[in-house]
């Protein structure tokens, strides 16, 4: 790679007072940091909800909370973790890293980017208001008969309006990602030279653009039915609750991939760096992301096998769901092949990436199990599904988020998080999460329903185990907070590229990067992940310049 193309940049000082620095900023890196910080705060809010649920479920007939609060905690745990933790964290990390990786100075639409950020914060505050005014009762899916019956329930209205704001924010953000990646790449950076994290960002941008309109329409229809006498879902006047499920899951299933695709991207970045090998099957990795995104729009009804929809639909949806396991399996084998005979450096980001691989494979397998109609009819709505979903969401997305935090922390701050504390964080998170979510599989097989607050005494031991595991996992996160705190206090500067990575954000930008990212926009002359290969031969021009 060589530096050419001096682009003009006008880095004017802000005419606004200093306290507005973070509020009025249009710098993608600052916007990314605000996203990630707020997401991390909501991670603890969602965690406290989960703690409430787990205490209630510690014994068969615990009286920790009443039924209304319990329903509220279940709804808010799901909503907060999905919409206010994983999604905004990924939006933040993409905002920070993606422009650097493609050699751009900022996003294509910096102000629209800021609007996306503040609409996210607005929507999040609306959702937080439910804790004061009454929590929604219908779960994060808000299935129609539940969400339209009690028209006076203010928590439901808050939930709908909050999610609407978040949805608009996501569409704006998605449009920005896609246009940025298509139009602002550095010279020489062709589509098949993009780092896989950028590919994941592109695919996620598309998923946001295409999936979010469906939830906007669905929630508008719920609102019209709740307050204006329209009929869409209420069976009393000719509506159909199953229509709600179709519309919701047409959004909801791509949403699941919005939550996991950036994790694929992060792991694809980390494994080659710490294996000192090029990624195995680069093109296949990119195409499998595209294929997964495409298929994710065709498999929504696998959430509805037991809903009473036309049974003729179940077979095609089951087959398509199982097909999506193929590109996912391709990715897992390619990650393993990347590590095969590589020189592994087990730093914290790599440890978390390996943790991701292990837990995600478990979640992937249980996903193929629930995709099968005959099995699903028995275990749908049981703790088996809860276990599967948490293995994918926590063991997949959240593990990758931690990997990303440890990996890009030096890029964001110039300091490196403490390795020892990082390992302890991993150990307790890994043990805690498996202790929590593994018993859920057999609880579900034995027939324990999800979303219930008391249960048969035969499930007592496994539930207690899950509660203990949940608290180990939750407290482990305090290690990360402590690590962050002492690292920021010590202020020990690390090298610009502590991991010896070969992607643009490490090789051509300082840590932390300057406001316009690069002194000069680099020209890209090679593929990503060229670890262990001899350096490309110098061009005639370079030889001349360097003598």
């Amino acid at each position: 790679m060589s530096d050419t193309h001096t682009a003009p940049h006008d880095h004017a000082p802000s005419p606004y007072p200093a306290w507005t620095e973070w509020l009025f900023t249009t710098d993608a890196k600052k916007i990314g940091l605000v996203y990630m910080f707020m997401a991390f705060v909501y991670f603890f809010v969602g965690g406290i909800c989960a703690g409430g649920i787990r205490i209630q479920l510690a014994t068969p007939t615990m009286n920790f909370v009443d039924g209304v609060t319990y329903n509220g905690l279940v709804s808010m745990h799901g909503t907060v973790m999905i919409f206010l933790w994983v999604m905004p964290f990924f939006a933040g990390i993409i905002n920070f890293v993606m422009p650097l990786q493609i050699g751009a100075r900022d996003m294509a639409f910096p102000r629209l980017n800021a609007m996306g950020l503040w609409l996210f914060n607005a929507g999040a505050l609306v959702l937080m208001a439910t804790f004061l005014l009454g929590m929604p009762q219908a779960g994060w899916t808000s299935y129609a008969p539940l969400s339209i019956i009690d028209k006076k329930e203010i928590g439901m209205d808050l939930w709908i309006l909050g999610i609407q704001l978040l949805g608009i924010s996501s569409i704006m953000t998605g449009l920005n990602f896609v246009v940025t990646i298509f139009k602002l790449r550095a010279p020489g950076l062709t589509m098949f030279r993009l780092p896989l994290f950028v590919w994941a960002s592109l695919v996620v941008g598309w998923l946001m653009i295409l999936a979010m309109p469906a939830i906007a329409v669905t929630l508008t229809e719920v609102m019209l039915e709740r307050h204006f006498g329209f009929t869409f879902f209420g069976p009393a006047h000719g509506g159909d609750p199953i229509l709600y499920q179709h519309l919701f899951w047409f959004f909801g299933h791509p949403e699941v991939y919005i939550l996991i695709m950036p994790a694929f991207g992060i792991v694809s970045e980390i494994i080659p760096v710490f294996s000192r090998k090029p990624i195995f099957g680069y093109k296949l990795m990119a195409w499998s992301l595209i294929l997964i995104a495409f298929l994710s729009f065709l498999i929504w009804a696998h959430h509805m096998f037991a809903s009473g929809m036309d049974p003729r639909l179940t077979l095609p949806f089951m087959i398509l769901t199982m097909i999506i396991g193929v590109p996912t399996g391709v990715k897992i084998f390619n990650w393993l092949a990347t590590m095969w005979r590589g020189k592994l450096y087990l730093d914290t980001p790599m440890i978390f990436a390996l943790g991701f691989l292990v837990t995600f494979i478990v979640g992937g397998f249980s996903g193929v199990i629930v995709a099968s109609v005959p099995i699903d009819l028995h275990i749908t709505n049981t703790y088996f599904v809860v276990g599967h979903m948490h293995y994918v969401m926590f063991g997949g997305s959240v593990m990758a988020i931690f990997a990303a935090i440890y990996f890009w922390f030096p890029k964001m701050t110039g300091y490196r998080l403490n390795e020892k504390l990082g390992i302890w964080h991993f150990v307790f998170t890994f043990i805690g999460s498996n202790l929590t979510f593994l018993p859920m599989h057999w609880l579900g097989m034995l027939g324990m329903q999800r979303r219930i607050m008391t249960y048969n005494a035969m499930y007592a031991n496994d539930n207690l185990m899950a509660t203990i595991g949940g608290f180990i996992m939750g407290l482990a996160q305090l290690i990360l907070v402590w690590n962050w705190w002492i690292t920021m206090k010590k202020k020990e500067r690390c090298a610009d590229n502590p991991w010896r990575s070969k992607s643009l954000e490490w090789t051509h930008a300082s840590s932390p990067p300057r406001p316009d990212n690069f002194e000069q926009i680099p020209t890209v002359t090679s593929d990503p992940y060229d670890y262990g290969l001899p350096p490309p031969p110098k061009t005639a021009k370079e030889t001349k310049a360097h003598g």
């Binding site: 682009a7 009025f24 929507g123 020489g188 309109p213 229809e221 000719g238």
Partner: protein, 273 residues
């Protein structure tokens, strides 16, 4: 493709309006909740929020135009990477899914709602005469919208060839046609609800009909506002043959709104599918 283009984006300009607009929207949401609880504070909040939001959007747009005019004088390439055109194309794709979800609702309920089938019969025979939603108003509206799509295209051509007067005349016609469409829509709603007693609450078909046409009408209205501001801007030399990306963006959007209307007529009014 990526080789020849300069890397272009404005760096470092802090801007207060995205933040302000978001706070206004959040205030509006809380206003709605107060109204639902019959609390008069709600209306006050909504009015304040709407005012602040409009100010924010207006200031945001004027900042954009000012920068655009300032930078255009330094430009060597007439269209720096036309990111606006890409943006609006992807937005249109998103809107296809937005309308698609509503059409899906319509088709699903048409096939699943037993009461709907009866109510349909009921609707078409009010007082022994057949009530037909297709009529003169939607026909005129179709003519208005399709011809406005033609005029906006030739307005763009005129601007490209620096024929400012022709451009302004054609744009005025476009805006008037768009406004006539919105007027026709309002008249139709009044006619249906008052004369024919056909309201959103009447049946599932009523719900689908009104949500689809209102969403489309809102898009037309938004288009009229955007086209009007471009027309006004042209009197202040905000548009020129070298600087017409805003018009290109608006006209792509306008053609899309036109296409949606044709699908709407075919599916909902004429029941061709």
């Amino acid at each position: 493709m990526a080789d020849s283009k300069p890397n272009y984006t404005r760096i470092g300009h802090a801007n207060p309006w995205p933040f302000t607009a978001s706070v206004a929207l959040m205030t509006g949401v809380f206003g709605l909740l107060f109204i639902e609880n019959k609390n008069p504070v709600g209306w006050m909040l909504i009015v304040i929020a709407a005012g602040v939001f409009l100010i924010a959007v207006f200031s945001w747009l004027t900042t954009m135009i000012r920068e655009d005019v300032a930078e255009a004088s330094e430009r060597t390439v007439p269209e720096f990477p036309a990111i606006g055109k890409w943006m609006v194309s992807f937005l249109v794709v998103s809107e296809v899914f937005l309308f698609g979800a509503l059409f899906a609702t319509y088709f699903y309920l048409r096939n699943h709602d037993q009461i709907y089938t009866q109510s349909l019969l009921h609707f078409y025979q009010v007082d022994g005469s057949v009530f037909e939603i297709w009529g003169l108003v939607p026909l005129l509206n179709t003519i208005f919208l399709v011809s406005s799509s033609v005029t906006v295209h030739f307005a763009e051509e005129a601007l490209r060839h620096s024929k400012t007067k022709v451009f302004q005349v054609l744009m005025t016609i476009t805006v008037v046609l768009g406004a006539l469409f919105v007027g026709g829509q309002v008249f139709e709603y009044w006619n249906f609800s008052v004369n024919e007693h056909f309201t959103p609450q009447t049946s599932t078909f009523g719900g689908s009909f009104y949500t689809l046409t209102t969403l489309h009408g809102a898009h037309v209205l938004a288009g009229v506002i955007v086209l009007t501001s471009l027309l006004v801007g042209s009197f202040f030399r905000a548009l020129s043959a070298k600087r017409h990306i805003a018009l290109t963006v608006a006209s792509i959007y306008w053609h899309f709104v036109d296409v949606v209307w044709i699908v709407l007529v075919a599916v909902i009014y004429l029941r061709l599918i």
